[in-house]
C-alpha cells in the first residue's frame, strides 16, 4: 500500500459514514455476498478497502500483515495476507479455502464469502455462493469479459444468487474511459442474456484508488449510478426468502417431561418458506394428517406469526406422530412428494461417481439413501453448452442427473426455494460430502 493510498483510506475512515450508531446497529439487515476473482484482478485490494474503510481491519492485524509483507520482500502491503489464514496458503501464496470476512456500516452488516480462483475453483465458489444474497463479479477493464467472468457468472446463476454486481475494475488504467466501460457492459449483457439472473448492476471502479467504492468518483462524472458500497447497502434483499409457500421441516422434537410441561410436544425447526400463524391448518408430511397450529413458541414468548429464516417451535392442537425429517405444510400448497429427483449436481470429490453406487442423501432435515440412476448431460461451464456424449464426471464437473431415493423427499424446485430445493450427497465409505444438488 502506498502512502498516497493510506492517506486516502484515512480520509475515508474519518468520514461520518462509518460512525457507528449504537441504537441503529441493533436493527440492521444482514447481507451475505460472495466475491469471485482470479489472480491480479484486484479482488483482495477491493476487499481490503471495504474492510479497512469500515474499520474492520484493526491495527494489530494491519501490523501483522505489514510485517509479513516485509518478510516476503514486498514493497506494498499485501492485503491478501489478511484472508489467507493458513500456513500453507501464506507459504504458497495461494488461497485454499473459502474465507469468511465481516464488516458493517451503520446500515448493514456484511458477511463476505471470499472464494479463491486457483484450485478447486468450482467447489469453493459453490460453497460460498450457496448462502449468498449477492455476488460481486470483478472484470479487469483492460481485459473485458473473459472466460473466467463467464464461469463466475454461470455459477452465480446456477446457485440462484438473487443479485449480481459487476465491478469493472482498474478504470484508472484505461483513463477512466466511458467508452471502454460501455463496451464491457454491452459485452456482459449480451452474455448474461443466457443466464437466469434478474438483478444485475454495473459499476466502474478503481479499487486501488477508491473510485466509486465508497465515494462517488470525481474521475468518472459520466457515471450516474451509485458507488459500490451504496449499492451493497441498499439492494433490496427482503424478498430473497420465499414468503409464499409455507414449508416447515421438523428438525427436532422438544419433549420437556416436566410437571409444568407434562404433555408438551414442540416441533422445532427453521422456517424454510411462507408464513405460519396460530390457527393455521397444517398438513404433516408424509403421514398426511392435518391439525391446527396451537402456538409458535420461543423463550421470549409466543409469536403471532413466523416466517423464513426464523427458528421457532410449533405446537399443534392434536397429538399426531411427527418426527425429524417430516414437514409441516399447508393444504392447498404442497411440495413434490417423490423418490425420483432430477437435479443439477456439482461434483466436489476426487473420487468420481461409480455406476450404481449408493450415497447418503441429506435434504432439509431428512436423511435417505440415493443412487445416481442416470447422468443426462454435463455442462461446459465456460460456454454453457450441454455435453451429451462425454458423461464421465470428475471433481468440479456440473451435470444433470436423475436420483432414485430409498424414501420420498418433499421437494420444491431450487428456483422457488433454495432450502427445500437443495440437497447434498455423502460417500458411504469416507463420509465426505461429494456432491451438491439443485433440484429441478
Amino acid at each position: 500500500m502506498t502512502d498516497e493510498v493510506k492517506q486516502q483510506w484515512k480520509t475515508a475512515k474519518n468520514q461520518d459514514i462509518f460512525k457507528m450508531d449504537t441504537q441503529g446497529y441493533l436493527d440492521m439487515e444482514l447481507l451475505r455476498f460472495t466475491t469471485a476473482g482470479s489472480v491480479d484482478d484486484g479482488k483482495s485490494t477491493l476487499i481490503g478497502r471495504l474492510l479497512y474503510d469500515s474499520k474492520s481491519i484493526f491495527e494489530d492485524q494491519l501490523d501483522a500483515v505489514k510485517a509479513s509483507s516485509e518478510k516476503k520482500g514486498l514493497q506494498h502491503v499485501d492485503l491478501s495476507l489478511l484472508t489467507d489464514g493458513l500456513r500453507a496458503e501464506r507459504e504458497q501464496g495461494i488461497t485454499i479455502d473459502v474465507a469468511y470476512r465481516y464488516f458493517a456500516t451503520p446500515k448493514r452488516k456484511f458477511i463476505i464469502a471470499d472464494t479463491p480462483g486457483h484450485i478447486q475453483y468450482t467447489r469453493n465458489m459453490i460453497t460460498g455462493a450457496s448462502t449468498a444474497n449477492l455476488a460481486l463479479i470483478l472484470i479487469d477493464a483492460r481485459k473485458g469479459v473473459i472466460e473466467q467472468t463467464c464461469r463466475h457468472s454461470f455459477i452465480a446463476s446456477l446457485l440462484k444468487i438473487p443479485h449480481l454486481i459487476v465491478c469493472v475494475n482498474k478504470m484508472d488504467l484505461v483513463d477512466y474511459s466511458e467508452e471502454v466501460y460501455n463496451r464491457i457492459v454491452d459485452e456482459y449483457k449480451k452474455f448474461a442474456a443466457h443466464l437466469d439472473v434478474k438483478d444485475i448492476e454495473f459499476v466502474p471502479i478503481s479499487a486501488l484508488h477508491g473510485d466509486n467504492v465508497v465515494d462517488r468518483s470525481t474521475n468518472m462524472d459520466w457515471f450516474k449510478g451509485s458507488p459500490l458500497l451504496n449499492t451493497l447497502e441498499n439492494v433490496h434483499i427482503g424478498s430473497d426468502w420465499n414468503h409464499e409457500d409455507a414449508r416447515f421441516p421438523v428438525q427436532y422434537v422438544i419433549r420437556p417431561h416436566t410437571d409444568a410441561f407434562h404433555d408438551y410436544r414442540g416441533y422445532a425447526g427453521r422456517i424454510a418458506g411462507g408464513v405460519f400463524k396460530p390457527g393455521d391448518e397444517v398438513v404433516a408430511l408424509p403421514s398426511g394428517f392435518t391439525s391446527k397450529i396451537k402456538s409458535i413458541a420461543t423463550l421470549d414468548g409466543d409469536l403471532y406469526e413466523a416466517f423464513a429464516p426464523m427458528s421457532v417451535s410449533i405446537t399443534l392442537e392434536d397429538e399426531i406422530d411427527i418426527s425429524r425429517g417430516d414437514m409441516l405444510v399447508k393444504k392447498g400448497n404442497q411440495p413434490e412428494n417423490t423418490q425420483d429427483v432430477d437435479a443439477m449436481l456439482c461434483w466436489l470429490n476426487n473420487k468420481s461417481p461409480q455406476p450404481g453406487a449408493k450415497y447418503f442423501l441429506k435434504h432439509t432435515s431428512n436423511d435417505a439413501r440415493a443412487v445416481i440412476k442416470e447422468i443426462n448431460y454435463k455442462v461446459d461451464i465456460n460456454t454453457l453448452n450441454k455435453q451429451e456424449e462425454d458423461k464421465s464426471v470428475k471433481m468440479n464437473d456440473i451435470f444433470h442427473a436423475r436420483l432414485r431415493t430409498t424414501k420420498p423427499l418433499f421437494t420444491d424446485s431450487y428456483n422457488l426455494n433454495r432450502i427445500t430445493g437443495s440437497l447434498i450427497l455423502i460417500d458411504e465409505g469416507t463420509n465426505e460430502t461429494v456432491a451438491a444438488g439443485m433440484i429441478q
Partner: protein
C-alpha cells in the same frame, strides 16, 4: 402488506439455534464447551432458546486450567445451578499430577497448550461425539477457515486442507467410530454482534468484563493481572490500574485493557471505537504467526 424482515441479530440468532438443534438431532452424546467467557455464555443462552421449554439436553464441560479467575468459577457455578444444567469439569491440574502433561517452566509458562490434552481426555472419558464451542471466524485468521461442523479424526486433529465443503444449511455430521466433531454455532458473529446481543437480550455477565481496579503489571506491552501463577521478573512493578478484560481465559494468557466501561452499553461503544482486535491481548496467539492453526490441528478448540 407485511414486510417480513429480520434484524441481523435475529438472523444470526436463528442460524445459531438451527445449528445447536442440528447437534442435538445428529449426535448421540454432545456437550457444550463452557469457558465462562462471553462467547460461551452467548452459546449457552442460545442453547436455552433452542430447547425451550425443555432443559438443554447436554452437559456443560469446563476445561479448568487451575489458573482461572476466581470470578469465572463463581459465575460458572451460579449459572449451572440457576438453570439446572449439568456441569462436568476436566482438570489440567489432574493431567499434570497424573503425568499426562508436563507443566511449562519460566516466566512465560502457560497452561493454555496443556488444556488440549485435558480436553481430548475429557472427550474420550465421557465419549462425547460433538462438542459445541463459542469460536468465531472473525477472531483469528485460522478460524476464518473453520466450518460450522468441524470434523476431527480419532486423534482430535483438524485437517484444514481437507475440510468437507459446507453448503447451504445442510450439515454433514457423519463420522466413523472414535472420531468426533467440534461445532461452532456463532461462527458468523463478530465481537460487536456478541456485545450487541448481550445488550439486546440483557444477559448477565461476569464482573471481569466491566471496569474495576486491579493490581496489574505490564510485560511486552500487555497488561497482566498480578497473580501467584505468573512469576514477576525483577524489573516488573505491580501497580493498581483501572482495567477490564475483553476476553477471558487462563490468567497467564489473558491481557487486560485500560477501560472505564461500566455497563454493556459502554462496552458496545468501546468496541465500536477500538482499533485493536480482542485477540491482540491474547498472549497465546502471539507465540507465532500460525499459533492458532497449530493448536487447532492438534485438537485445541
Amino acid at each position: 402488506m407485511n414486510s417480513y424482515k429480520l434484524s441481523h441479530l435475529k438472523e444470526l440468532e436463528s442460524e445459531s439455534i438451527f445449528v445447536i438443534r442440528e447437534v442435538a438431532a445428529q449426535f448421540e452424546k454432545p456437550a457444550l464447551l463452557f469457558s465462562g467467557g462471553k462467547d460461551s455464555i452467548v452459546c449457552f443462552h442460545l442453547a436455552r432458546k433452542a430447547f425451550f421449554p425443555a432443559n438443554i439436553p447436554f452437559p456443560l464441560v469446563h476445561v479448568d486450567t487451575g489458573h482461572n479467575f476466581e470470578e469465572t468459577l463463581i459465575y460458572r457455578d451460579n449459572l449451572a445451578k440457576k438453570y439446572g444444567a449439568q456441569l462436568l469439569i476436566g482438570s489440567v491440574q489432574e493431567s499434570i499430577d497424573s503425568g499426562r502433561v508436563t507443566e511449562e517452566k519460566g516466566y512465560n509458562a502457560s497452561r493454555n497448550v496443556l488444556q488440549t490434552v485435558t480436553l481430548l481426555d475429557t472427550i474420550e472419558k465421557y465419549k462425547f461425539d460433538a462438542c459445541i464451542g463459542g469460536a468465531r471466524r472473525d477472531e483469528e485468521k485460522a478460524r476464518a477457515k473453520e466450518r460450522f461442523f468441524s470434523h476431527r479424526d480419532e486423534f482430535g486433529q483438524w485437517d484444514p486442507k481437507n475440510q468437507r465443503p459446507e453448503l447451504w444449511n445442510i450439515f454433514n455430521g457423519r463420522k466413523n467410530v472414535g472420531e468426533h466433531f467440534r461445532v461452532f454455532p456463532i461462527s458468523n458473529w463478530t465481537e460487536m454482534d456478541v456485545w450487541q446481543y448481550i445488550l439486546h437480550e440483557n444477559i448477565e455477565m461476569p464482573s471481569l468484563y466491566f471496569t474495576h481496579e486491579r493490581e496489574c503489571f505490564v510485560r511486552d506491552g500487555v497488561i497482566y493481572a498480578h497473580a501467584n501463577v505468573i512469576p514477576l521478573k525483577p524489573t516488573e512493578k505491580v501497580e493498581k490500574m483501572q482495567v477490564r478484560f475483553r476476553t477471558i481465559g487462563d490468567i497467564s494468557c489473558t491481557g487486560a485493557v485500560l477501560s472505564t466501561a461500566n455497563s454493556v452499553e459502554e462496552i458496545v461503544a468501546e468496541v465500536a471505537a477500538t482499533r485493536v482486535t480482542e485477540r491482540g491481548s491474547r498472549i497465546d496467539d502471539r507465540r507465532s504467526e500460525a499459533a492458532m492453526e497449530d493448536r487447532k490441528k492438534s485438537g485445541y478448540f
